[in-house]
């Protein structure tokens, strides 16, 4: 009787219960129960995820104190309109898959909090440039997606902007630039030599996305060959 249900472990009994057809419940009951359980689970999951988007949650770690102090000096924290952008507005995407990706990648922040990577002002300054460049890289690659949740060239009335701002925004549109190209340090202090590092970030991204001279030459050759054969 070693294989009798009573002698099996709870994992095997649970596994067997999962795959045994239900006889006590109707299909409608199971569908409705599953639907309600799904709503509860998904609602709870989403609610918990939203809690991790609050400013209280973001700055609950000791290492975020420096960021918080700097951000509180900026227009995104205190301004005449009373609109405030909190950490998640700039650092967490709205679209579901991008948001989940950002949340999973944020696990590294917990690790560095525990490891004390930026636990002192000296350590923080030593890592400031690398932290900033990581954010710039993300923003440049996504065409400043998180900035554009609130700001949009299409919604800007250049006549209401300062002359310099209006002309720079027009230049940005004309040259296909993105917000972070000019607005580094909008919410946190800038490290020394940041412009050089930003240039390196943009060059590295351009090298990844743009075709090489060799590819351009090959493409040009292929087009020329096609046109020549078409003429024949």
């Amino acid at each position: 009787m070693a294989d009798s249900p009573e002698n099996r472990g709870w994992i095997r009994r649970l596994w067997s219960w999962i795959w045994t057809p239900a006889v006590a419940f109707s299909s409608g009951f199971l569908i409705l129960a599953g639907f309600l359980a799904g709503i509860l689970f998904w609602g709870g999951f989403h609610w918990t995820l939203e809690l991790t988007n609050t400013e209280e949650f973001c700055v609950s770690c000791h290492t975020m104190e420096t960021n918080l102090g700097e951000y509180r000096e900026t227009i995104h924290y205190n301004n005449h309109s009373g609109v405030r952008a909190i950490c998640s507005d700039c650092h967490v995407p709205h679209e579901w898959n991008h948001k989940i990706k950002a949340k999973i990648m944020a696990v590294k922040d917990v690790y560095h909090e525990l490891a004390g990577t930026i636990s002192t002002p000296e350590k923080y300054e030593a890592h400031r440039l690398s932290m900033a460049s990581a954010v710039w890289k993300k923003m440049k690659a996504s065409d400043s997606r998180e900035c554009r949740n609130c700001h949009n060239f299409d919604y800007m009335d250049f006549t209401l902007q300062e002359t310099r701002a209006a002309s720079e925004h027009q230049r940005a549109i004309d040259n296909n630039m993105t917000c972070i190209d000019c607005h580094q340090g909008i919410a946190h202090s800038l490290p020394p030599d940041y412009l050089q590092t930003y240039q390196e970030v943009t060059e590295a991204l351009n090298a990844e996305t743009r075709p090489t001279h060799q590819q351009l030459a090959e493409n040009g050759e292929a087009i020329r060959s096609y046109l020549t054969s078409g003429a024949d």
């Binding site: 057809p21 579901w96 898959n97 991008h98 989940i100 990706k101 949340k103 990648m105």
Partner: protein, 85 residues
């Protein structure tokens, strides 16, 4: 590495994972479940790239398809194991 893990997680909790699993559960044919999952992976990547192949990142597309295939296959296996019809 974190980028890849994040993309995998986003796809598991996104359309390829959830809809792929659901579509997989509609068939007992493993290949069909996997194909439906892969299709969801392609559509999801295109959806988030604004329906433009030029904006699709090959790595993201590949991960979405792999996750879709996995979820669709698991869905079909669940159908095989858990249903008599």
């Amino acid at each position: 590495m974190l980028e890849i893990l994040g993309t995998i997680g986003g796809n598991i909790l996104g359309l390829p994972g959830i809809l792929g699993l659901a579509l997989g559960m509609t068939t007992r044919r493993l290949w069909l479940g996997a194909a439906l999952g892969a299709l969801v992976g392609v559509i999801e990547t295109l959806l988030f790239a604004g329906w433009s192949f030029a904006h699709v990142e090959p790595l993201e597309l590949m991960i979405a398809i792999v996750v879709g295939v996995g979820a669709g296959s698991i869905g079909s296996l669940i159908r095989v194991k858990g249903a008599t019809v």
